[in-house]
């Protein structure tokens, strides 16, 4: 049994009277690649945003190495450097070049000297195949390239866990592959990842763990073989059937 990294306990989130997440419980161990699947509006993204504290949970606990980060008074900034996030819409800083995007967090938040930050940024940009584009501005590169830079930006902070919020949903079909390849490499190197995705092939082949969410609750979870191959619940079966039917 490997080390527990994240533990979500009884997490609930409401926007006004609308309850988006209800009593979510699950754990992430070191090296896990957890794919969160489910229909739109099932609360997948909200769950991920709660874990990163971009949304404040209404109730419940998020334990990071045993420490409740959702409690009042904890500093979210230090925690967020340990838990990186990659967004559907990339969210690269438009006023900076590719290289600056990957450096700014290191120099401002981690207070690394700039030559060290530069070397780290270049290392990860190289890894995602974006090293030749370090002088480009985000508006000058394609969606798939932006997302790869966003992954490099998150990696440069040296996170323990990476959260991916539908990283390929905003991309043209032919660019999905380049981003998934990068993610697959990360998974192979043992990065702990939590991926909200509609890419069933990725969930099946890369993830170690699949969580199916339906209407704000975790409906079914287990290994990809269990959830995708032999789903027990009717909702999961219907969802997967709808996906295959497409």
């Amino acid at each position: 049994m490997s080390e527990l990294v994240l533990e979500v306990r009884h997490l609930s989130k409401s926007f006004g009277s609308n309850e988006v997440l209800r009593d979510i419980d699950f754990t992430v161990s070191k090296g896990d690649v957890t794919a969160i699947i489910g229909a739109s509006g099932s609360g997948k993204s909200t769950l991920l945003r709660c874990i990163n504290l971009l949304e404040t949970p209404t109730s419940g606990e998020i334990l990071f190495h045993g420490q409740n980060v959702a409690a009042r008074g904890t500093d979210p900034c230090a925690y967020r450097t340990k838990v990186g996030m990659v967004f559907q819409s990339f969210n690269l800083f438009n006023n900076m070049t590719v290289l600056q995007n990957c450096m700014v967090g290191q120099t401002k938040v981690l207070r690394r000297p700039s030559d060290e930050a530069r070397a780290t940024a270049l290392h990860y940009l190289e890894k995602v195949g974006m090293a030749p584009y370090i002088n480009a501005k985000p508006r000058q590169i394609s969606g798939g390239q932006k997302q790869r830079v966003a992954i490099a930006r998150a990696l440069a902070m040296g996170p323990e866990v990476l959260l991916f919020d539908e990283p390929t949903s905003a991309l043209d079909p032919e660019m999905v592959g380049e981003v998934l390849t990068v993610m697959q490499d990360l998974a192979r190197e043992g990065m702990t990842m939590l991926v909200v995705t509609h890419e069933m092939a990725f969930a099946r082949d890369v993830s170690t763990h699949v969580v199916y969410m339906n209407q704000g609750v975790i409906c079914e979870e287990g290994t990809p073989e269990q959830v995708l191959g032999n789903p027990q619940k009717k909702e999961t079966q219907d969802f997967l059937a709808r996906f295959r039917g497409q």
Binding site: F87, S89, N95, A131, N135, A136, Q140
Partner: protein, 291 residues
């Protein structure tokens, strides 16, 4: 036609005799407008930033109270100074200080009073522009910054404000040009700017129309030059439309190590990767994201 020639003659005459006075007016107008705009922008920036500090229900009560108070104070300031004529503000402030101190405190110079009036007037307009500039930035930018652990202050200074400032540059230019023109109302507190000299000189020689022509040309020249400079500055801020691909291996260069030419890099034409890529390209066509 004859009248136009007369006008030209009169304008030439006025300029010949009084150009130092006119130029002095131009100088004072420009200095006042420039300083007023700069200080006004700083005021507006501070107000706009204070106004957009987020707070939620889970924050402690004193913090929420303070932020609410700041918003109310800024709101009142903006409404008062945006909602009254600058000419009246000038009179109000210039004569208000001695009035309230029983003449014990006078304005050290009319310059100080004028700069203050123009600054706080500009600040009131800029506060709203800055607020608009900040809220117009995609919330994704803030989330991206937060997700790598930046504080609100770091997010603002590194990510949001550089973009917001670019977006409000036209507004800053607008305010500068308005200040060049509207500082003319400062004659009311005896500030000798460009228009004040017109009032002075026409009081002597009654050449109202020729002098007004000189003024018109003068103001238009100032504002045209100003807008030209502003366009140029905006262009500079946008930076280049193109970028250079970096073809060398940056990491080894940064580390200062030497790569043997025969070894090559993935971008080297002789490397295995490059040959493979070329083969793939020939087979499947160039990937769209690549250039």
């Amino acid at each position: 036609m004859q009248r136009f020639l007369d006008l030209c003659q009169d304008v030439a005459l006025l300029w010949q005799n009084y150009w130092p006075g006119y130029l002095n007016g131009v100088k004072n107008t420009l200095i006042l407008a420039l300083i007023g705009t700069v200080i006004g922008c700083v005021i507006g920036l501070v107000c706009g930033i204070l106004n957009t500090i987020p707070y939620s229900k889970s924050d402690p009560a004193p913090k929420r109270f303070l932020l609410k108070l700041i918003r109310i104070v800024v709101r009142v300031y903006v409404e008062v100074f945006r909602g009254t004529p600058m000419i009246l503000q000038a009179v109000f402030i210039y004569y208000g200080l001695p009035y309230f101190t029983y003449n014990a405190v006078q304005w050290p110079s009319v310059w100080a009073a004028s700069i203050l009036v123009v600054s706080i007037n500009t600040g009131a307009y800029m506060a709203e522009s800055v607020r608009g500039g900040i809220i117009s930035i995609d919330p994704g930018q803030t989330e991206g910054a937060k997700a790598i652990g930046m504080t609100h202050f770091q997010t603002m200074t590194s990510v949001i404000l550089p973009q917001a400032l670019r977006n409000i540059m036209p507004q800053i230019g607008n305010n500068f040009i308005i200040n060049v023109k509207d500082s003319s109302v400062m004659f009311i507190i005896t500030f000798t700017e460009f228009f004040a000299f017109h009032r002075y000189i026409t009081g002597i020689n009654m050449m109202y129309f020729p002098s007004a022509t000189v003024e018109m040309i003068g103001y238009l020249t100032m504002t045209l030059i100003a807008s030209f400079i502003l366009r140029w500055v905006e262009k500079r801020m946008d930076g280049s439309d193109s970028y250079e691909l970096v073809q060398a291996d940056q990491l080894t260069m940064a580390a200062g190590t030497y790569t043997h030419p025969d070894k090559g890099t993935p971008f080297d034409e002789r490397s295995k990767e490059h040959r493979e890529r070329v083969r793939q390209e020939l087979k499947y066509g160039r990937p769209k994201g690549d250039r």
